[in-house]
Symmetry: C2
Subunit: 358 residues, 2 copies
């Protein structure tokens, strides 16, 4: 049988609960599809800090690099919020992204018909929303140097960061975005702040240059403030959005909340070579951690994306996607998506229902 | 009679149309309240570029500085979009803000009961939204140095900007925000990205330090990506939001679109001394410029804010606010807010209706 090495990084908060469900789903799928998965579970984030004193132990990175795909739960929690930068759980996540070279973060925002009423948008605005944010993930202000603390000429303390993009970074993310748009509805909107920022001016120039290679893709540009508005005014106007690291952080979260299904949304982070990193879009939700209340479906769907795009196991992926939809159709809902008439279940029970449908 | 000098900066696109209405409103109010206004109309943005070759002529800035308050229409348009940085209309606006030292930009997002159906949010989510974004306006990545273009160590072209805040800049905007929150519902949410950016870590530290001076204000912190989500999930949780220049640009536009009343929202930019800059939140809308379609009410309400906060003419301000509400109550709507059963009017006619109600 085909055999794959999967690195599991449960992380913090609800991470372990949702990853545990996802692993069961992977196992059942494997046995039905005649695939074999070997797992290595490694610490990252706050969990790694508590265990080893650093948020990304070297061994975690090297195991992850050597595997075929990586499944991450979530990272962060109140406990470590006051830590210095190099001892923050989030720093572990950034080091992981950088270490794996996963420069492209694909974040879909899709309104599922079953969940449309969970959106705070009017039904007619939310209906049919199906967009993909392609976020640059290993550059920009997240990683730019110089950064740190210092003094200005008056002796005042300052904190500073550098937003910087090189042409090769823009070109490679733009290529992923054009390819993504081509496989979708052929529309790409590049979001920047080119009326103010030099880093954005270069971004716009390079994205525009690449457009000639993709005559079948319709490229538009939008300023980030306008994009934040347009996502609310008429989200259906968007197909694929490409943007830098920080704007992508903000806009992909905004877009996911529009759908009302943030507990349902997977994401994939990929590089030029090496394994991809798959994780739910939601965070570690420390307030409900360990209470069997988390929605495991975003992580289960992340497994489907992992199978489809990471391992080219499309049949197995489809099996999981269908099982999730069937479970929703049967009316099972975790607390985040519950409404009258539905069946309220916890994280484990939701997992069992998905297993039944598989 | 009391006499004030007002600088009018119509700017580009729909700017001249809406400023012209606002001026009529000012004049009528003046005659009824026994106040006198003297106007100087000066070019800025694209209009100034066409006339003088620069987006902020020295004379415009010096006239503005010597006046009692400044009313701006809007800035920018397709025509100048490809211009180099120092010849962009937007650069004129940034120079104006910097030259006037207006470091605090106050942007309300209020859902008017008359217009609640214009929001794309469900009625029960939109109803009662009443928040204020206090945006830092003369610092951060908009103005930080170094900035520009260059090469990296591999000879690749780069574009870069610096996000930087000094303690004095954070302290003065935090103070405006605490004072604003105190006059509102006593809740202040500071938005940053302190889990990643050093500039945000310093921001969070200084805002937290000031909290002890405002025991009556409840201070919370939120990451910007979460704020972008929470604004959609439950905008009523917010009272006053304080944030940096770029996050404020994005979040205030997002918040204003939630209300469905973007054509209705004024803004004020103020400094420690000197005149304030008052302008509608919306842009120059080049697609409808010169067609008598623009909604002048955001500019009319900006005049009310100018009177109230800039000149302490509260009675005159109230007169204008009431006239706007009465005009809406009578069912008059410009195209942006039109719905069946309402009376569709153009920019001028809307102005005349407001004058009638005054
Ligand atoms: C936890 C944080 C560092 C991270 C980010 O900002 O990238 C998160 O918000 C995300 O979007 O994955
Ligand atoms: C036109 C542009 C430079 C400006 C900004 O980004 O500040 C505008 O978007 C605004 O919010 O006033």
């Amino acid at each position: 049988p085909k055999s794959y090495n999967i690195t599991l990084l449960p992380g913090d908060g609800i991470g372990p609960e949702v990853v545990s469900v996802a692993k069961q789903v992977l196992n059942l799928t494997a046995s039905l599809e005649g695939i074999e998965f070997k797992y290595q579970e490694m610490p990252v984030g706050g969990a790694a800090l508590d265990l080893t004193g650093v948020p990304l132990p070297e061994e975690t990175l090297s195991v992850a690099k050597q595997s075929d795909a990586i499944l991450l739960g979530a990272i962060g929690g109140y406990k470590w919020d006051a830590n210095e930068k190099h001892l923050k759980p989030e720093t572990g996540l950034l080091q992981l992204r950088e270490g794996l070279g996963v420069f492209a973060n694909l974040r879909p925002a899709t309104v599922l018909p079953q969940l449309i009423d969970s959106s705070t948008l009017k039904r007619e605005v939310a209906q049919g929303v199906d967009l993909m944010v392609v976020r640059e993930l290993t550059g920009g202000i997240y990683f730019g140097k110089p950064r740190g603390f210092g003094k200005n000429e008056n002796g005042d303390e300052i904190g500073f960061n550098t937003e910087v993009y090189a042409t090769y970074e823009i070109d490679r993310i733009a290529r992923v975005a054009f390819e993504t748009a081509r496989k979708r509805r052929g529309k790409l909107c590049s979001v920047d702040k080119a009326n103010v920022l030099e880093a954005s001016m270069l971004w716009r120039k390079r994205v525009t240059m690449m457009a000639s290679e993709y005559p079948d893709v319709e490229l538009t540009h939008m300023y980030v403030d306008n994009a934040a508005m347009q996502l609310i005014r008429d989200p259906k106007q968007f197909d694929t959005i490409v943007t830098n690291n920080i704007f992508g952080d903000i806009l992909s979260d905004e877009a996911s909340m529009l759908t009302g299904s943030i507990g349902m949304l997977p994401s994939a982070s990929i590089g030029d070579s090496g394994p991809g990193l798959y994780e739910p879009i939601h965070g570690s939700a420390p307030d409900i951690a360990g209470q069997d209340k988390a929605n495991p479906l975003a992580t289960v769907l992340s497994v489907a994306v992992l199978l489809k795009y990471g391992l080219q196991e499309e049949v197995a992926a489809k099996r999981i996607e269908n099982a999730v939809l069937e479970t929703l159709d049967k009316g099972f809902r975790t607390g985040d998506l519950f409404s009258t008439g539905m069946k309220l279940v916890g994280c484990k029970e939701m997992g069992e229902q998905v297993l039944k449908s598989i």
